[in-house]
Every structure is written in structure tokens, then in C-alpha cells.
Point group: D2
Chain length 346, copies 4
């Protein structure tokens, strides 16, 4: 069906018992050019059967997830390791892997910000390896060029930043940075990870809705960096928790430096995404819905011009666990090895 | 328990088979100073038993809902009629009632906008009685003074405007009208009324979320009027549909003409709501959740100052069918007759 | 409005930070014949503000919930204490209260079973006061006669048993005990209490549904006892967890000793519930829905005869936190003091 | 990757704008041995873009769905037509296709029952072609042997019957037919199809749960036939509507002619499903959950013996739109052409 090489990379997943890690295990186990050689859980002890990592794996065979152990991981001789772990663990493990010549796609935030000074503020720890922050490729796939081919370390974008940047980046040159950029983002609850806390219990979340993190969420500096906003421009990012499991919808308010037409905006988006099979831009005035992308690796973007084109409302939707995490990581893996973005994701 | 007069007003509800009308019927049937004399459905024929109007009425007795008939309504000799009907019907019925000396609390939008010229644009019909638009009291109860006591016609505010105005009005004098006022509002699906359309079916809405009406929603001119924004100021209002039944949360972005302290903002809110038992303002940085107000007649408001107090994010929550419709109508009824706002609403 | 005495009983709630306890606090704070003198949390330390116990209390004043302390409780001089605690705590506290002359309505299972031998098997502890098991009045209110008036200790029924017994008890004399009585009961997730466990998290429960406890649930001996099934009759009780918060629906399969007509069945139900304002029996073939009773203190029962009246399917619905816990406890309180069942519950 | 022939069958879907039809279109468009040649909607006019038939098709290309037209269908020269239409339409169209040499997999109920006399009673129409009822192969795939290879007409099982028969058929020889077989089945709301009715609106279904069809559902004779129960045995089937979109869980109560051990039951299930990759039987006492199979083509079955093995509770779960409709249809297609059951379904 394809004339791609039949080469297969050996891969491992660390953190496969989380929601994003489970999606990764499921995708990689079916990827025609990946061999899932080892899988590690987030637990301190015990084994999680491979088939329990994701509903679609129920009858599949593959390596059971065991507590993370660097020697075990290295023994599997992976070409690439996907990390879906807490930030602090990734900050510690990534250098160990790179030092041993293993490439890493890190789904945590440990290598997303360029400035090590940002880590104590936003992540609560001193970053151990500042030079790797400069080396890491920020893997917002559609905006990467050749750099992924040779990347040793890919910092896979956060879910909220992915949803915001996909909508704003193509228009960034025309956005008026003297006016605030306002992002109200709403995420399904799986974005918080597997939570054994009352606040995330069904009885508390059902029928509820709330904003949180308004005074500062760690995805805010990531969005700011992704848009090269600098220190002066105002970015207001308000995350909200939807009473559903999957998906992020971001409603974004921007002002332009000059009035734009719908044709102009569409041309900018087309330029950015014409080659992409995973980002769809809708006609002017048509807005995407969460269900259009949930359980898919795709993003959809809609826009509505206001005030004669001086301002716009942008709306973007993704599945937070896929385009916002696992499937974007696999897009990055595909780029590393020269496969189409959609390989293993159809 | 009270030293209020034992006087009882005769009341009627038109449109009691809708969600807001059913809430009204339930509240009024238990109100110590109301006698529910007649109830009309939104149907063209057939009778709806009183106990079917609201789950809490299952064993209650009261007038069955029959198709609207002016003579039948007048025969019940109501002191006040609550209209929870489509806009066009209210526009036609209200003058007939006023002409016969019956006071009206209209939950539709037919008398909310001052300017008759707004009706063709936003409501799709020529307004039949422009002079009544000027007479109607806009019943955002906490901002009414004595005018409700003698009002013949109360235009009960829309659900979205109620949620936005309660948060913004107390700060209005200090808001910078040269910067856009941005409101992202998310409503439970009962806000759309009882809908027999595929787009509102459970299978389509479950797990979904979307923005709609971004190019112009009829609640936008109502918010603009309620804030006296004039023509020049920019208001951006984006309504969204939450996958839940009840509640509205509005996330509102404002800029101030001068930097404010949290104490200053709280003082303004306290001035507005100190006397109210139905609006709660939270301490700086604490944001309300939908579940705090669902099934209650209350509103809650939270705020977070940004940029040294030059900007703020305001978050307000209400139950769209209660404070956004039925219970606010009963607050207005209470004011008409001199009872406390909370009478019949505890 | 009533000619009842204005007497007010002093009451206390222990376990008010749970879901059922919060409902109790809300109801009792509004009850015209109760004075809520003290409220205790399920926590070991810290204070929970009264207004946080239930959404409807947000602006209410009342005693804050503090960790349980017997001396503090006695200092409040309660006439009646409502216990909504774990079973083991109730087993220990109830005797202490009775010994000091305080009446108790216990919402736990600690005094529901007559036989102390059942406790190690079903509840995992030796019962400390077997003689109180014989004294306790099983408070399925509609089936109590005068005994509640003088009861020192009321064992408030479990939620599942309430839903099953209300449907089956009126027909019990005609049920064929040689054929299995089969109850498939489905409960909203609040029935499990406030849970900080992954299995009860929103992400795990949303869109899910399962049976559990099929090999034996502690509500099974309670149903068996409530129907006087003895050892020989077969009872099969399968509880299921619904992806919603409130409500229990039980689908019950019974065989009769002789064929019954719909009129006969209705007559039996009417005999049982004619005097009740809180139990509604629907016409033959009409089945109740969960939403008809959620957030109400009522039960609804429907039935469908099969095989010429030799068998029937019974369907009953209640709100598990109200008729299945808090409002039934208040019915029992009302009976203790001679008020109508519905007092404080409208 | 396989040594199967590269042969590709030309297929068409009628009724692709329904939920099951959309799943079919999505699966067949990705099936390595199917070429989706034509797609027909359930509408009388207008065209539905291919990418709108299912979320996963958003960027896919394929034939747009147009109103059904026999000539258009035949012009596409399909080898097999999948019908996901109302029963009456299938009853009329199937003979026309067979007469022209086109094989049919019918997802409706029009050819499921052997006896034409059952159609007026259960389906409300006289069956036009009784002889085809005897020819049709009832496509409960795991219980078909060679007959699918040559079948002209496959009657794809109903969703509820699939869930019940998979659990009961392997044990059928040991079930005591003198005792009632009781099935309480709960289905997600997509089982009702795309509905523009108030009763299926989000606002009415959210938080609700109900039994329906207790006096007789057309899936009851299909279950009875599938178990060869005859006229004498008692089958009680009560369908319920879950407040979720996808999945059926059936809780089934059976009595055996002799006491069985867990090993015996497991041996019977193993005999039935050892060769199947799509039916999983869990160890004794472990029960499946809906989420284990939603969005998969698999079934899971659990069981709990009671009364020393004289009775059992069986619990089975499927995705009603997949194993209960579309994916089972594709299993049958695979059998027709000699492919493994899982072809195109992984």
C-alpha cells in the first residue's frame, strides 16, 4: 500500500498507565513502523497487563507495564523513548537517555520552555540541564521543518498551547501586540490526568463547570513563547474544566494591525496547513465543535471577523489526549523517520 | 414567622409548559403571597396536568395548563401575569393585558430593548408598541429602586445578560470603554428551551461543546444597553453550549481606566450587593463554580485582577432557568408588592 | 398555615459533610419544627462552614461542622441526633447517645439487621449491642405504625432496600416464594458516598455502566429481612452503577401464587399508600423514570403484569439521597413528634 | 503483512446517515478488501458529504450520500449491499437486490424472524417475501459455520439480541426452560437512532434513566428464536435507556438443569469462543463494564454462579453500534469472502 521502507524503529513508552500514555501505547502497538519494545507504568510496584493500558488493546499482546527502571529500559534497546511522566521525572530521565544515545519525545513540560529561569516560577523546580532547553525541538509538528529529522529531544507541546497556537500562529505576523490576546480555553477532565481526588470525582464534576488557574497556568508562558510575544504584550489565558472527558475548545480574541478580509485570513491558514492532513480550517463564520475531533488526531479551526476585520474570534478544537498529546507525539516520531504525519494515525 | 401582610395576589403563567415556565409554576404554587389562578401552555390544543409542569409538582394540585386564550386568562382576574412565551406572542399579548389593567412580568425579549429600531434587526419583527418599550422597567432586580413598586410592565432580563450585567454593572464607571469588553458565556442546554431537533438530541450533545452566535446574538444589544456602552465601545459576546442542562458561567475580560486594588473592587461589589441575599461576591482570586448555584435563585461572582489591577477577569454563575428567568421574575413580583426579594424563593 | 403546635425539637447531625448528611443539614435547617443545634463533620480535624454543607445553604447561617466529639454533641442538648456516619462509628456512638437519653435516627446500616450474627458476615464487625438490634425500629416510614412515636432508635433503611421494599411489600402476601425474586437495581454514583478513588473519578465513570456486588451486597439481607423471606426463598439482588449522580431505579421480577389482575395489584398498592403523599403508584403498564423523583422526597412505582397475571415486572424510582436516606430520616423524625410525613419536605 | 488475496469487493451502504450506517461507512472505507462504491442517505432529498457521515472521515474522500435510488445503486455494480434502513424499506429493497444477483447484509429486522406470522405482530407489516425469511442466514457471526460463505442474504442480529445471545447460547443446552429466563438490558441512547423528538433531547435524557417496552419489544421474539425457546418457556426481556450514547449491558438471570461449576461454565464458553478474537469471557466472578467495549468491535462476558451453581447471573457488554450493528455486519462480510473476522476491524 505504501512505498515507504519497511524499517521499524524500536520504541518504548514510560508512563503508559496514564491517559496520554495509554493512547500512545495503543497507537504505537498498531504503527507499521514501530515495535513497542518496553512499556513502563507510573506505579512504584506491580505490573499492569498490556491489554489494560487502553480499551482497544483488550485482546492485543504486548509488553506489560512495569515500574520504571532505567536499566530495563536500556536493555530493550529503544531507538526512541516516549515519556508521558510527571515533569520532574522527565527532567531527570531525559538527560540519562540522551547521554546513552537514545532519542526522546517528551510529553511532559520539562523541556518546553527555552529559559531555565522559567522553571522555578512555573514548574516549581530548578531545571537540571539548561543547555538541553535550547537543544530541544518544540514539536508543534505543523510548524516544524527539517529539525525533527535529526532531533535528539522533542518537547511535545502542551494540550492548551497546541489548541491556541494552531489557531493563532498562522496569523501571528498581523496580530496587534498592543492589544491583549485573550484565550478562554475549555478542556475535558482527562486533561488533569488520572486523579484520585474528590474534586475530580464523578459526583463533583457531573453538571459542573468552572474556570481555574486564572492567576497563572504553566501553559501561559508556553503560549507566550510559541507566539514570540515578548514581555510587553498582554496574554490572558483562562483554562476551564468541562464536564466531559476528552477535548479542548479554545475561544481566542485577537486584534489585527490592519483590517483583514476573510479571504486574507483563509489564505494565511491555507499557507500554514495546505500540506497537513490533520488540521482543517473551516470557511469564514463556521465554527468547529468538540465532537468533530474527539477520538481523532485532527484539529479544526474556525474564525469570525468582527469590526470590519479589525478583530476576530478564533475557535479551535482538538482531542487533548491525541493532537494535544499522544498523536502529536507520533506525528513527531513520523517526522523523525521520514514518514508522513498520518502514518499510524488513520 | 413574618410580619408581612397576609395579602395574596392572583397570578397567572402563560407558557408554563416550557422549562422556565415550569419553574415559575412551581415557585408560584408555593409562594405565600401568590395564588396561581390560571396556567397556559405553549400548545395549540390539549391539556397538560398541573402536576406535569415540574417534577416537584407531582403530587400538587393546581390549574391544568390549557392553550392560551385571552378571555380565559381575564376570567381568572389575575393581578399579575407572567409571560414565558416566544417573543412575538409577548409583543402581541402584553399590550392587551396592560390595556385591561393587568400588570405583566414578561420573561421574553419583547420589551427588553429601549429602541424599537432594534427589533427588526435582532428579533426579526417590527415592534408593535414602541411607547411601551420606554415604559417597561428592565427587571435586573438588584439594580432597580422603587420603580418596580408601580411598574405596569416588567421586562425580565435575558439569562446571558443577567450573568454578565451582575458581574460588570457595579464596576461600570471604572471600565475603560476604549478597550473591548469581552464575554465568553457558556450555558447549559435548557437555555435553548424544549427542543425537538436533532442538534439538541442527547446523542449529538453528549460529550460535545461548541460556540455559536458569534456573529451576533440578540442578548448582545441587551448587554450593551444594560451597560450604557453606546455605539462606540466594543462588546464581544460569544455564547457557548455546555453539555449539561442548567447553569450559565460567564468569563468576562475588562480593562479599567485606572489600576484598581482588590479592596476597591470588593467595595464596589459590596455597595451594589450588600442588601442582597441572592448575589454573593467571592474574595479576590476565588472563582465560583456552576454547581454552587444550579437549582438555586442565587448568583455568585468572582474576580481576578491582572496587570497590577489595570485589567480583571470576572466570572459569574447563575442558574439560567432561575436567576436567569423564573426566580428573577419572582424577585420582581416581590418588589411590586413590597415583599423581600427572597420571599417564596428560599 | 398549620394548626400544629409550634414546638421545636433540638436536633444534631453527625456526618454532615457527606452527601446524605449535607441533604439532612439542608432539610433540617429549613424544618419549621427543628432547631439545628450542632453539626459534625466526617473529618478528623478542621471546620467546614455551614454554608458549604449544601449548595442551597450558601447564604444560610447555622453551626459550622466540626470533628465529632461526644461532649460537644451532648452540650448542644439535642432531642434527636441524626447519624450519617460509617457503620462502625454508628455502632459505637448510638449506645452512648441512648444511654444519655438522646433519641437517634441512624442512617447507617449499624442497626438495620435484627440478627447480630449477620454483622460479621455482611458488615465485617461483631455487633457491640445485640439487644439494641431488637429494639431499633426499621424506619421504612410508610410501613411503620405508632412505633416511631416512642422509638428511641430508628434504623433508617438503606437506599436500595427502600427502592425494592416500597415496590414489593404491598404485594408480599401474594408473592410465590418458591420462585426467585430478582432485583436489578441501578444507582447514581452518589450512593457510594464522597469518594476520592480513581474508580469513582469523572474520567472513569463518564459513559460507563457496570454491575457490581453480584456475589453479595449488604443490602441483600436487609431486603430479605424486610420481606420476611426466610432462609429458603431465593433473592437475587444485582446492584449497578449508573453514570449519573442521583437516583435509584429498581427493576424487580416477581411471580405470584395466583394470577392477579391489574385492579387487584392497584388495590393492594392503594391500601398501602393511600395515606401517603410521598409514594405514587402509576396506572398499569406505565413506568416511572428517574427524573420524576430526583431532587424530591418522593417514590414512584409502576408495574406490568405478564403471563396472564402470574408474574409482574415492578419498577420503582427514588432519589437515593432523599427518600433513600435524608428525607426518609426526616419523615421518621416527623412521625416521632406527630407531624405529617411531608413536614419540612415540600 | 497478510497472505490473503488482494481481491476487493465492491460494496454499497444504504442508510449511511444514521448512526449505524455512519459506522459502516467509516469501517468499510478503511477495509482492505472493500471498495465503497456508493452510499445512500436516509433523506428524501439533498446530498450529505462523505466526510460528514462519521467524525473519523472528516478528511477522507469517498462517495457522498444521496437519496436512495435503485438504479443508481445497481449502476455502482456492488457485490454486496449493506442496508441500515427502516424495516419496511429493507423488506421492499432486499428482494429487488437479490433478484438482480446482489448479495445483501441487512442490518434491519426485516429478515431476522423465521416466521412471517411474527411480522404483523412485532413489526406492524405483512412480510412480502416469506420464503426469504427461511433462506436468510441469521448473522450472529460466532455461531455461523460455513453458511455465510454462500449466503445471498444475511439478517444481521439486533443489538439487544446480540448482547443476550452471546452470553446465553453457549450455555443453552443446560438452561432449565421451566424457569423464566430474565434479561434486564440497558442501552445507550444511540440505539434509538437519530431522533428529533423531545423525549430524546439532551435536556430530557441527562440524568434520567428508565425502563421501556416491558410489555413487548420486537427484540424479544428474536431472542426467543435465537435460543430455540419454543412457546412454553418464559422469557422476560426489559430494555432500559441509559443516559449515555453508546453501549449495551445485559444482566441475565438463568437457572440450570443441574448445578454447574465455574470450570464447567468456562469450558462451555471456551468451546464457543476459543477461535474468536472478538468475544472475551472473564474469569468467574469478574464482571465486564461498558467502557471496556465502547468504540470497539468486541463483546465481553462475565458470570457469577449462585445457589451452589444452580443459577447464574450473566453480564454481557457490547457497543450497540459496532458488535450490535456495524462491526458484526463487517464480520459477516468477512466470512462471506473468507477473511478473518477481524479484517478491517482492528
Amino acid at each position: 500500500m505504501t512505498n515507504l521502507s519497511d524499517a521499524v524503529a524500536s520504541v518504548a513508552v514510560v508512563g503508559a498507565t496514564g491517559y496520554a500514555g495509554g493512547e500512545l501505547a495503543a497507537i504505537l502497538s498498531r504503527h507499521p513502523h514501530a515495535n513497542l519494545a518496553a512499556v513502563f507504568s507510573g506505579a512504584k510496584s506491580g505490573t499492569t497487563p498490556f491489554r489494560s493500558l487502553h480499551p482497544s488493546l483488550s485482546r492485543a499482546t504486548g509488553p506489560d507495564a512495569v515500574p520504571f527502571d532505567l536499566d530495563l529500559l536500556l536493555a530493550a534497546k529503544p531507538d526512541v523513548v516516549f515519556l508521558a511522566t510527571p515533569n520532574e521525572i522527565a527532567a531527570e530521565v531525559v538527560p540519562q537517555l540522551l547521554d546513552r544515545g537514545v532519542r526522546v519525545i517528551d510529553l511532559s513540560g520539562a523541556f518546553r520552555l527555552r529559559e531555565s529561569a522559567s522553571y522555578p516560577t512555573w514548574y516549581g523546580f530548578e531545571h537540571p540541564r539548561a543547555e538541553l532547553l535550547r537543544e530541544a525541538v518544540y514539536g508543534l509538528t505543523e510548524f516544524c521543518n527539517g529539525e525533527l529529522t535529526t532531533a535528539r529531544l522533542v518537547a511535545n507541546p502542551g494540550c492548551y498551547p497546541t489548541s491556541v497556537l494552531l489557531a493563532v500562529r498562522p496569523l501571528a505576523a498581523l496580530i496587534d501586540r498592543d492589544q491583549p490576546l485573550i484565550c478562554d480555553s475549555m478542556s475535558g477532565i482527562s486533561g488533569a490526568g488520572k486523579k484520585s481526588e474528590l474534586a475530580y470525582s464523578f459526583a463533583e464534576v457531573f453538571g459542573n463547570f468552572k474556570a481555574y488557574g486564572v492567576a497563572g497556568h504553566r501553559h501561559e508562558p508556553e503560549i507566550r513563547q510559541g507566539l514570540k510575544l515578548g514581555d510587553r504584550a498582554t496574554l490572558i489565558f483562562v483554562p476551564h474544566l468541562l464536564p466531559t472527558v476528552r477535548g479542548i475548545l479554545s475561544t481566542i480574541h485577537v486584534a489585527f494591525t490592519e483590517p483583514l478580509t476573510a479571504e486574507h485570513v483563509l489564505a494565511l491558514y491555507t499557507k500554514a496547513y495546505a500540506a497537513s492532513h490533520l488540521v482543517t480550517v473551516l470557511p469564514h463564520g463556521q465554527l468547529p465543535e468538540l465532537k468533530d475531533v474527539v477520538n481523532t488526531p485532527r484539529a479544526e479551526i474556525g474564525f469570525q471577523l468582527l469590526q470590519g476585520g479589525k478583530r476576530a474570534v478564533l475557535v479551535s478544537v482538538i482531542d487533548n489526549l491525541l493532537k494535544g498529546a499522544a498523536s502529536q507525539a507520533v506525528q513527531n516520531f513520523n517526522r523523525m523517520f521520514g514518514y508522513p504525519d498520518t502514518e499510524g494515525l488513520s
